[in-house]
Amino acid sequence: MIGAIRSVLRHGFELIERPFERLFGPALNPLSQLGALGFFFFWVVAVSGIYLFIFFDTGIERAYESVEYISRNHWFHAGVMRSLHRYASDLMVVMVTVHLLRQFAYDQYRGVRWYSWFTGLPIIWLLYGSGITGYWLVWDKLAQYVAVTTSELLDRLPIFGEPIARNFISTGTLSSRFFTLMVFMHIAVPLFLLFLMWIHILRISRPKVNPPRALAAMMLLALIGVSMWKPALSQGHVDLAKAPVEVGLDWFYLPLYPLTEIWGRGSVWAFLGAFSLMIGLMPWLPPLRRARAAQVDLNHCNGCARCAEDCPYEAIRMVARTDSLPFPTQAQVNSALCVSCGICVGACPSSTPFRRSEELKTGIDLPDYDLKTLRERTIDAASALSGPGRVLVFACEHGGGRQLDGTVRLPCVAMAPPSLFDFVLSRDLADGVVIAGCAESACFNRLGVDWTKQRIAGTRDPYLRARVPRERFAMIWTSALESRRVVMEITKFAREIGKLPRPKLRAPQTSTVPAQSAHGPALTEMGSAE
């Protein structure tokens, strides 16, 4: 059931991701910046809130007047700030909701990712707490409705002796102290929210907490534009002698309030409890069965720290050396955080298929899909190629090339060390190499696309050697839905390299040493990198 919903949602996201990526470019695609935009809108809310607090009067009689004053008399600065405050908080709800759905759709909430998912749950509660306490402060008809309905909801819980809602059914029962309390809550709850947002990203390597400047500027301009076009206004002074019968609800924060009338308050609490329980348990419904965590081979680890640098999950740290080799540090894998994406294998300078050692080893490897197996599968796949324009495809198991035959499938394309591509071309295993990864803005392992591009471009260690002819190299970044596009691009690329002259082999293959592979053809260890 959960799998079916996830599949439908994923299809939906993949349908809109591509047009968004084309329109904004991978770097500015808002769908890949949802978390960062959530942070951005939080800061807009915080700054505008501090500004508004200068003008806000916490007196019971003056609260409404002070808000009206800034909205009418000082609309050009404080009024705009009020609108920024309102719309940025609404947008935060939008970002959080879409972010949650997207993480669910792409199955990025189970396994070691449970922590970020789970800590996102109190963020939702605190976000709503922040918004709802804010609406009370305006002390207009909407505030009355929110105050009464919230109190009635809280009164449904068996924790309050006297119904809180009684405070809002007649004049004279409230004092200015109430507003002081509400202001305190409206500051304290967002502060807790910020604290939890920090907790939320603790286990993420290089978390995106700031959107690219161009995207932030676009959002800020749009916020200012919409604030001028439709300023946030109050809905008339509170009249406790009248029921707040007709209110313009903020449907982002208050969609459940009408349901208290329809379902009843107990049912709304039951719904919220069930929702929270379900969200909280989802990482284990069912738990993600991952391959075994990466393992360090100290005999091949010189403590260069590239694996720790590249790991998107903070699963590797450098610790003091425990053996006699003359290096100060060694890599250590925290298996509780490792998702077995293999990015560390691709980052390790020891990961080279040219190695002469009989048993191909590297400094850090996946027990269930080691470098030796990868080399064997590469040779196997290449042996099936024929004709001019032989193209060997390294496909990410989450991208558009995942279901193509004859490819070398990888948990992440960044698992393949650049030397493997060099190996394929210099050994004439193929005439061209294609890396078919996830969509650029929806990399399943967050940083796999970036690291692969940088390694190939020679800006990140370990980089693809300059001798590798770049015209025989192609990268295709697609979502799982775009298999047709992958095939088209591979075909086109194969045609192009078919026209190229045969390359001069720099590391010719001979047949003196049999390969370790049980499946592949004989492999000769000649030449090159190490």
Binding site: F20, L23, F24, R86, Y87, D90, L91, V94, L142, Y145, E152, D155, G161, E162, P163, A165, R166, I169, S170, M218, M219, A222, L223, G225, V226, W229, K230, A232, Q235, L240, A241, K242, A243, P244, V245, E246, V247, G248, L249, D250, W251, F252, Y257, P258, E261
Partner: protein, 166 residues
């Protein structure tokens, strides 16, 4: 960057922000139908204790620890409050309201809303908060004209022991 792309970006962002601005206060939600009023019965009131205070015998006092000796024992638990509300001659609410608190010694509370068409109504409210089994200890009746959207509150003042209509 082509103009077409910029226009596309503008349309997407504008659509998002217009939707956010629109749904931040629209569509308007109406809590009760047009031309209706709300009658609210809400009070917090503690009924009598279930049992009277009883004077302890000298033997019972002697059995108590020296620092906890007292002459009377007063059970904490309260009786439920029984209340009835009539609107236009029809009983719309009757309930036995249990005392709050783990030991059942807190006040009883009620918070009920009744949405009625605006107009003139005979309203009668009765309450029993003692050991009596029939009749009522407090009651009040009045004819009130309820305007549209009016919130008419029926409260009870424990200090004066009377219902308040406002």
């Amino acid at each position: 960057m082509s103009y077409l792309r910029i226009a596309g970006q503008f349309i997407v962002i504008a659509a998002l922000f217009v939707a956010v601005a629109a749904f931040s206060d629209w569509p308007v939600y109406r809590q009760i139908p047009h031309g209706s009023a709300v009658v609210m019965l809400s009070f917090v009131h503690g009924a009598d204790r279930k049992a009277e205070c009883r004077r302890l015998t000298p033997e019972e006092i002697q059995k108590l620890p020296p620092n906890m000796r007292r002459v009377q024992e007063c059970p904490r638990a309260r009786r439920p409050v029984y209340v009835e509300l009539d609107l236009a001659g029809k009983t719309v609410f009757q309930a036995s309201l249990p005392p709050t608190g783990i030991a059942g010694d807190g006040p009883s509370k009620v918070y009920e809303r009744f949405v009625v068409p605006a107009g003139s109504y005979d309203i009668a409210v009765r309450m029993r908060d003692t050991a009596r089994t029939d009749g009522f200890d407090h009651d009040r009746r009045a004819t009130v004209a309820l305007a549209a959207d009016q919130l008419f509150v029926i409260d009870f003042r424990t200090e004066s022991g009377e219902f308040v209509f406002r």
